[in-house]
């Protein structure tokens, strides 16, 4: 039964108006010139624009949807006569907020059935979108992924840091992903078409590092038969990532300072200065301010590098990322090795969650890679994890999975407390908030293997 042939039911205009005003979907109509002819209350609420301001204006300048220019639903409907239902887009409010919406359109006909324009209804999906994000609750930047608020703060400022061209100092323990962060900065910057070069300053002896960074001219030393460009020259126009900057010698610190200050340097054996258009991103696992205080690092260089300071938190401070990272690594190794490992089982996950990861994300990645060698196409179990992690697992926990996982965490907490107190049982029990006899009972029931040292008589 084609709807359009049936004349509209004779509803009094004021009733139609009341209905339109009371629904929660935004509704507006346009004439053939795309000028707004009516605008309901929900449309005012969602767009933040008063009806008086909207009526008579072009719909694209009122509605401001991502689809207006390239993929206007109303235009398609006006052309084809076919309604569009629930197409996703976003609009931009006067405050610059993106509001996700879904849009439906239809032709607008008068009582005689003639087309007098179009009608668009739209629904605010902000709540749905929020819930969806909450469910995923992760955010990504380059190759980094996290759901930790600490990382979120970092990711939020990264785009602006990237375009600023200022020197950046990334501080973080080994394996937290300093180079990944530097690469993300490069990829977001205007230099991303140009090279990104990474140099580990701790990996090369001083003299070698100097020629590596600045290059040399033919004849600079025996064997230098032709010019060799340094990393500064190779990274021209791009980004140079100097890892472990805290480890370079005082002499090299002076040379680096000069490049940063004057943007020029001389290759070894060269007589003329060379200009360097390179953005420096430096990284260190050390506390550079402390190195300055010790006199091991030049203060002026420190201030030159430390224009923007980004601190990458260690994995133990963002344990919520462990399952997320495990999922990522497993997906990647499955892809690379053409495998179908479904995941980690709860006991193995409990073990991984209770580990401190001194080697951070890199350590976790290596643990998963190692497990891949051993696990076939089954889920990763405690037996596939490195012995130093598994040693913590109670030997006879095969009851059921959740109990085993709980026992694993309990055992880990007890071992950690004991370690903190040099295996003094009484101190550990106090720390854990349990009686010492409860502790002894738990040590026995969990089958924990403790060293003979008991912390009471420490004869150093």
């Amino acid at each position: 039964m084609p709807r359009r042939t049936r004349p509209p039911a004779p509803v009094a205009p004021n009733v139609t108006g009341t209905i339109l005003e009371s629904i929660s979907d935004g509704v507006f109509t346009v004439d053939h010139d795309w000028r707004i002819t009516s605008f309901n209350r929900a449309a005012e609420d969602i767009t933040g624009i008063a009806r008086a301001e909207a009526v008579g204006r072009r719909c694209s300048e009122v509605f401001r949807a991502s689809m207006c220019e390239t993929d206007c639903a109303l235009r398609q409907t006006m052309k084809s006569g076919v309604p569009v239902v629930n197409r996703a887009a976003f609009i931009i409010t006067a405050e610059g907020r993106r509001v996700p919406i879904s849009v439906s359109t239809a032709l607008l006909r008068n009582a005689a059935g003639a087309v007098i324009g179009g009608v668009e209804t739209f629904r605010d999906l902000s709540v749905v979108e929020e819930l969806r994000k909450e469910l995923l609750a992760r955010f990504e930047m380059g190759d980094m992924v996290s759901r930790s608020p600490l990382m979120r703060r970092l990711f939020d400022i990264l785009p602006q840091v990237a375009v600023s061209d200022s020197t950046v100092l990334i501080q973080g323990e080994t394996g937290v992903g300093k180079e990944l962060l530097a690469r993300a900065l490069h990829a977001l910057s205007s230099r991303r078409e140009k090279p990104f070069l990474a140099v580990n300053c701790a990996a090369l002896p001083d003299t070698l590092l100097e020629s590596e960074l600045f290059g040399y001219r033919a004849g600079a030393f025996t064997g230098a038969i032709r010019d060799k460009p340094g990393r500064f020259a190779l990274a021209e126009g791009g980004t140079l990532f100097l890892d472990e900057i805290g480890d370079i010698s005082p002499a090299l610190q002076v040379r680096l300072l000069r490049v940063l200050q004057e943007r020029t340097y001389e290759p070894l054996g060269g007589t003329e200065s060379v200009r360097a258009d390179v953005r420096i991103v430096a990284a260190t696992h050390r506390d550079l301010a402390a190195r300055v205080a010790e006199g091991a690092f030049r203060q002026d260089l420190f201030y030159r590098i430390n224009v923007i300071h980004l601190a990458l938190p260690p994995l133990r401070q963002r344990k919520e990322d462990v399952p997320l990272l495990i999922e990522r690594f497993i997906a990647r190794f499955n892809r690379l090795q053409d495998r179908r490992v479904p995941g980690v089982n709860p006991e193995a996950l409990a073990l991984l969650m209770s580990h401190d990861f001194p080697g951070n994300v890199r350590e976790l990645e290596n643990i998963i890679e190692r497990a891949f060698v051993l696990c076939g196409n089954d889920a990763i179990e405690p037996a596939h994890l490195p012995p130093e992690l598994v040693a913590r697992l109670p030997q006879r926990s095969r009851l059921n999975r959740i109990a085993a996982a709980a026992q694993t965490v309990e055992a880990q907490a007890i071992l950690d407390a004991l370690k903190r107190h040099q295996f003094n049982r009484l101190a550990a029990a106090r720390d854990l908030g349990i009686h010492k006899s409860t502790l002894f009972r738990k040590i026995n029931s969990l089958g924990l293997d403790l060293p003979p040292q008991d912390g009471r008589s420490s004869k150093a």
Partner: protein, 128 residues
Amino acid sequence: MRIAVSVWEGRVSPVFDSSRRMLVVDIVDGRAGDRREVELPADSPAERVSHLRGLNVSTLLCGAISRPLAEWLQAAGVEVHPFVAGSVEEVLSGYLSGQLNRADFRMPGCCGRRRRHCGGRGRQGEGR
């Protein structure tokens, strides 16, 4: 000095975040000189920002723009005049004569010099 106006069908494009073309105009002695229309890269904001920088654009006149993108552009040294509406030629001459704040160049719902939302009806509005 070089300015850019995002364009669509001869008018300022309604949403800069998804607009596809812009007019780049060199301003010499307060007058519009050389001009050319260029394409904007598809939706990646990073590409949009570096594209404008690559063209040495110092000022952008555009329609609606999401706040993060506007801030990003400003951090990259591009002055942004957002929520501008009207035909490209009129907007251009309005800008050159310092009259961009005129009401007829404003998108509905946006007002004042800083083009902040000025209340009225809308989300903040109480029921009537």
